[in-house]
């Protein structure tokens, strides 16, 4: 199978049995790979109603067709499971060099199933695959464990780890690789922790075959040349996503004090230029990336190394908790990475609790003595530790803001900023209807990566609520997740503006199967509908209500900044949903119609 290593590594943690299985040809044909394989395994192998933290759930680490090859940004891996946070589909994407190394070792994916009787790590060195004792690693931080394993096994090994957050089943625990890159969202780290897997260590020496080497070589040249000729290259190389906070503040989209407004008065302290001058040591790229957003830093104030902060972390552990010093944010970032929890959800959870405290719904006894006010860095650091270790209030916040609000009550649900139980990432949506719809309908919860539609809001008018905005969200929901299917990064297209259709010929050169760009988008739509059906299967009563926006955005006006006084309306949100379902070929409860499922050839996959 050209473009594939051709094998899946199946690891039964309960029995210790390790099997190497052929890659399913129907998946390669109809779903291509990456998150396409992830949902296929979940649907077919994880029984309906399975406990996400029980032995029946599976954790699937999946490469894509481009992973590990000489293609710009071909370093992305998808981690899928039934989410312990939302109860539905979880798919967390991560860069670095793990995905390429796994393919070089001869595997397109790893399936972790069952639960190990004791802490282990999975050792993979080409054909040699073993479960090894991890008793001495359990309890240690993510990056500490990566350093230990690299010293023990060799620098050539790529390592994925969980921290104490994953061990303690924090619902938004992440998986870390390459000293600070995270499969962050949906609780994939908690599922790894539930299985008692502390780490995966991979080393490979093999070659991934391509169908037409001459054509591949020519197209690889063209794609890299296009990246290098891009006018956007220099700025992106220098600042990466850290260049985004200033722009987001100007347009009023930077989450501030738990999404009360979209402009943070102290945002200048988080700007990419400040960060570059004060803390950045080196650029740090994923496999084959000509425009590395990774900035590896050292904060003298706290004496720690950290990759980042990237935009989302500056947004949620900066503006959203009102920290305006890049070194404070860098340290909060370090704590989350080392302890193994997602910075986006952690920033949300702490901001939510800060708002409860300032509104006197939580008192100092309940916060365990912490002066939990916006702008207090020590309070942020303490709460990150307590969440990861599930101590005091941290135990409740470790469940996520939806569960916390349901427990705390007193109207706090209105400022629990989440969809489907997943906290919203770094864009305020008081005045961005397309972005609001993107968050409402993303197939993991309120995450931006499925459709970064806010630029379209700006392009056609912030106030406008229209069918073209809905069409744009759907278009993006097919293009962007296609990169997660292909195992590559989307930023070469988004930030360097390389021709997105140029991915079709190189996929064809790799696989030997001619597919047009439209054919690839159809695969992405197929996967999108597949994951939607998974939600209906797993979540009782799933439907329209699960796509509702966080109440804050239609109940309260933005309190200040560039969008002061603006808010969405309930009627507009419902109108957007009506149009969205109609354009997708779904009924008005958000269920794909029989005709749509037939058109996509999905019916055979839903048995």
């Amino acid at each position: 199978m050209n473009g594939y290593a051709g094998k899946i590594l199946r690891v039964n943690l309960t029995t210790g049995e390790i099997r190497k299985e052929p890659y399913p040809e129907n998946v390669a044909r109809d779903l291509l790979g990456g998150r396409g394989l992830g949902i296929y395994i979940l649907w077919n192998e994880v029984p309906a109603g399975a406990d996400p933290l029980g032995p029946e759930n599976k954790l699937i680490a999946s490469t894509g067709i481009l992973s590990g090859l000489l293609v710009p940004g071909a370093g992305k891996m998808d981690w899928a499971c039934k989410s312990p946070q939302t109860g539905g589909y979880a798919s967390a994407n991560v860069g670095g060099h793990l995905t390429s190394e796994l393919k070089y070792a001869g595997y397109d994916a790893i399936i972790l199933e069952g639960i190990s009787p004791r802490p282990v790590y999975l050792f993979i060195d080409d054909d040699k695959v073993e479960l090894r004792d991890a008793a001495d690693l359990w309890g240690k931080g993510s990056m500490t464990v990566e350093e230990i394993l690299k010293k023990r096994l060799g620098e050539d090994f790529q390592i994925a780890t969980i921290g104490p957050g994953g061990e303690n089943l924090v619902k938004y625990a992440c998986i870390t690789t390459d000293y600070g890159r995270q499969a962050g969202r949906g609780g994939v780290g908690a599922v790894m922790g539930s299985k008692k897997v502390k780490a995966v260590a991979v080393h490979g020496t093999q070659t991934v075959p391509v169908a037409d080497p001459a054509r591949f070589w020519q197209l690889a040249h063209e794609m890299f040349a296009a990246c290098k000729a891009s006018p956007g290259l220099e700025l992106w190389q220098r600042y990466g996503t850290a260049g985004v906070p200033t722009w987001a503040n100007e347009i009023g989209a930077f989450p501030t004090r738990n999404f009360q407004q979209g402009t943070f008065e102290e945002h200048a302290g988080l700007d990419g230029k400040v960060m570059r001058e004060r803390i950045v040591l080196t650029d740090k790229g994923c496999a084959c990336c000509p425009c590395p957003c990774g900035k590896y830093s050292y904060t003298k104030k706290y004496g720690v190394f950290v990759e980042g902060p990237e935009y989302e972390t500056s947004a949620l552990l900066g503006g959203n908790v009102a920290l305006g010093d890049i070194e404070d944010v860098a340290y909060a970032n370090y704590l989350c990475d080392e302890l193994g929890i997602d910075t986006i959800s952690a920033g949300n959870a702490i901001a939510f609790a800060m708002e409860c405290y300032e509104k006197e719904i939580l008192n100092r006894e309940q916060t365990g003595g912490v002066e939990l006010r916006f702008g207090n860095p020590q309070a942020v650091f303490t709460m990150i530790e307590r969440i990861a270790r599930r101590e005091g209030l941290g135990d409740l916040l470790a469940e996520g803001v939806k569960v916390a609000a349901e427990k705390i009550g007193q109207g706090s649900y209105d400022w629990a900023i989440q969809v489907k139980g997943m906290e919203q990432s770094g864009y305020d949506t008081h005045a961005a209807p397309a972005m609001l719809l993107a968050y409402m309908t993303a197939d993991v919860g309120a995450h931006h990566n499925r459709a970064w539609a806010i630029t379209y809001d700006i392009q056609v008018g912030r106030e406008k609520v229209s069918e073209d905005k809905v069409a744009k969200v759907i278009e993006l929901q097919h293009v962007r997740p296609l990169f997660d299917v292909m195992g590559a990064c989307r930023l070469q297209w988004i930030e360097l503006s390389i021709d997105v259709t140029s991915y079709a010929p190189i996929v064809a050169a790799i696989t030997g199967v001619e597919r047009s760009w439209e054919d690839l988008l159809k695969i992405s739509e197929r996967v999108w509908n597949y994951t939607r059906m998974y939600w209906f299967r797993e979540v009782e009563g799933f439907g329209r209500e699960w796509d509702y926006p966080p109440p804050r955005f239609y109940k309260e006006e933005a309190t200040g900044g560039a969008t002061a006084g603006k808010k969405a309306t309930w009627e507009d949100a419902m109108q957007l949903l009506d149009w969205y379902y109609a354009q997708r070929g779904w009924d008005q409860n958000g269920h794909p119609t029989e005709a749509k499922l037939a058109e996509l050839g999905l019916k055979a996959y839903l048995k």
């Binding site: 060099h97 070089y104 000293y179 080497p213 690889a220 890299f224 790229g285 990336c289």
Partner: protein, 128 residues
């Protein structure tokens, strides 16, 4: 002529390694490359790029004189003459001569320049 690397610009993406591998062997294989990236993390947090400096140590130690220079001035191992003893691999101060499985001779940088083309960060250049 030789290859120069400014390690301070390197982001560790390894595109140069794949470019080298594909250029010479039509393979995506980071282990078939005549240059190397050594990451130093978490501390001090940098990459060191090792490249062939055309120092000629390999030719000097070759017991069968199998390492002449091509028209660009690059030393290369002639597989017709090579006895695959590995002396050049051991002698290379940059450790960028590699034994390649299934090939009769080790491999070293021939100044083809493909790594330069694929590096997005401007790390590599070929100059006198």
């Amino acid at each position: 002529m030789r290859l120069y690397a400014d390690s301070s610009k390197c982001c560790g993406c390894k595109a140069c390694l794949l470019a080298c591998s594909f250029s010479h062997f039509q393979e995506n294989n980071i282990h078939k490359a005549a240059l190397a990236i050594v990451p130093h993390f978490p501390d001090p947090g940098n990459y060191v790029v090792r490249v062939c400096t055309q120092c000629g140590e390999c030719a000097a130690v070759c017991p069968v004189d199998a390492i002449p220079q091509n028209d660009k001035g690059a030393y290369y191992i002639d597989p017709e003459l090579c006895i695959d003893c590995g002396a050049c691999i051991d002698a290379c101060p940059e450790q960028v001569i590699f034994k390649v499985a299934g090939r009769d001779a080790p491999f070293e940088c021939d100044l083809c320049g493909e790594c330069v083309l694929f590096c997005g960060m401007g790390v590599l250049r070929i100059a006198e």
